[in-house]
Amino acid sequence: MEKYIFFTLSGLAIFSAIMVLVSKRPVHSVLYLILCFFTIAGHYIMLNAQFLAVVHIIVYAGAIMVLFLFTLMLLNLNLANELRKSILARVTAVIAGGLLLVTLVAVLKGLDASGPIMANTQIGMTTNIGKVLFNEYMFPFEAASVLFLAAMVGAVMMVKKE
């Protein structure tokens, strides 16, 4: 049962990831990306990491992609007025993508995939993540939260300036 769900989710994730690139319309790309995020959230749930899955949806699909969509809707990118990319830009893109691929392959090569994926681990539960975050990673977490708070306060200040 779990195997079928895994393969369905994986297939869907790969399909939607490819469609992000292939889609002609930017809005479709964004929607496929959201679908991709949902399939990945599904994977998290299969790994019993409910907190991660939900936060993944809230942050990425619920907030960041809304902003993406928001911008794209206002840009009104039509097929007709799409700019032709220069050769240089294409070459740069290929090199950058190729480097990423090389890095990923290098990382995955060292991974031991022979053992079973820990499906029954409790590490993804809210309490466990909280304990890890506030003990081992206390300083980076608090630093990040201060950064976010500064960003939020900054946003409010920018509005208040008027």
Binding site: G62, V66, T126
Partner: protein
């Protein structure tokens, strides 16, 4: 196992039908109440007290001509209302509608799915709600629809923040993300007593999230024709309008659960009734609370005028957000000192 499966399917069906039925009759209650407020009677021709009016409206919407703009993005145009409807119904999965019913030694909790992250799940689903509106508004290829969609999305993002912080202070107090436990902790005292400001912020944000007046800018008929559903007709429009009422029902349920003790009835234990009867009474009491919240939603809508857009943003970012933040900090300090 089979018994469990049958029970779950039955519960899901019941809750689905119940939310649809309540949403249906919320339209009638809304029209009646609006009528009363405006010294009218409201619809009273279809059946006694207009009891068949929602059926008539539904039949009318079903038989209207399906119209799709020529330049619309066909797939997304259809996807929009479907997504809105689906998202509004999804939230009801984690709300505890009552305690447990025990039949022949089996305990059946009146909650479709209980996870350890109920509240976050609700938050995730609510944040998905904006997609249906955005996709529908964009796919219509109409400037009014697009403007409505843009307004809806920016409004929802702005108010989600304050909403999340308001919930966060409740979570900080109860120390759990499970709604079942949140309800159980409120047997002695409702959360609203400790967190009145959080409730007020949550209620205002709930009004904004459900696109109800005074926050109905995405569909304000005075400026944007119909807002994001300008180009919609027949049952697709029906889905949009209907999901608003389902959203109202669900957010009332969430408010009752988070702040008003859910299905707990004060002094119910002193009645000395059988546990099953108590559970059913508790569920009925939850629905009474939900109904009162629905009335409050409607009452507010027919009292207050619509915000101007800059006022809306000002309220969201400069008033509610700092207030929620302060409330969160105070809650944190109090919890630390206790």
């Amino acid at each position: 196992m089979i018994v469990y499966l049958i029970y779950k399917v039955a519960l899901i069906t019941t809750i689905l039908l119940l939310s649809l039925l309540i949403a249906m009759y919320a339209t009638l209650v809304e029209r009646k109440f609006a009528g009363f407020i405006q010294d009218r009677y409201g619809p009273d021709r279809a059946g006694p007290w207009g009891i068949l009016q929602p059926v008539c409206d539904g039949v009318k919407l079903f038989f209207k001509e399906e119209y799709m703009p020529n330049t619309a993005d066909k797939f997304l145009y259809i996807l929009g209302p479907c997504l809105t409807m689906m998202v509004s119904l999804l939230t009801s999965a984690v709300i505890p509608w009552g305690g447990t019913i025990s039949i022949a030694g089996n305990n059946f909790p009146l909650q479709v799915a209980s996870s350890s992250v109920d509240i976050l799940y609700i938050f995730a689903v609510v944040s998905m709600g904006v997609y249906g509106i955005m996709i529908g508004g964009w796919a219509s290829n109409n400037k009014f629809a697009l403007l409505g969609a843009v307004r809806a999305s920016s409004q929802m993002i702005s108010y989600e923040l304050a909403m999340g912080l308001a919930i966060a202070s409740v979570i900080l107090m109860t120390g759990t993300l499970s709604l079942q436990q949140t309800v159980d902790q409120q047997t002695s005292m409702w959360n609203v007593v400790y967190q009145p400001l959080a409730f007020l912020i949550f209620f205002i944000c709930a009004l904004a999230e459900t696109n109800r007046a005074p926050f109905d800018l995405p569909e304000c008929e005075g400026e944007l024709v119909g807002g994001y559903h300008t180009e919609y007709s027949a049952m697709k429009l029906g889905f949009y309008l209907f999901s608003e009422y389902i959203n109202m029902f669900i957010s009332s349920a969430i408010m009752a659960t988070l702040f008003f003790g859910g299905y707990h009835m004060p002094f119910i234990d002193k009645l000395g009734l059988s546990p099953n009867l108590l559970t059913l009474l508790g569920t009925a009491f939850l629905f009474v609370k939900i109904f009162l919240f629905l009335l409050l939603f409607i009452w507010v809508r027919w009292t207050l005028p619509r915000f101007r857009y800059d006022q809306l943003m000002k309220l969201g970012w400069k008033v509610l957000f700092p207030l929620a933040l302060i409330n969160l900090i105070i809650t944190g300090i109090v919890m630390l000192l206790k």
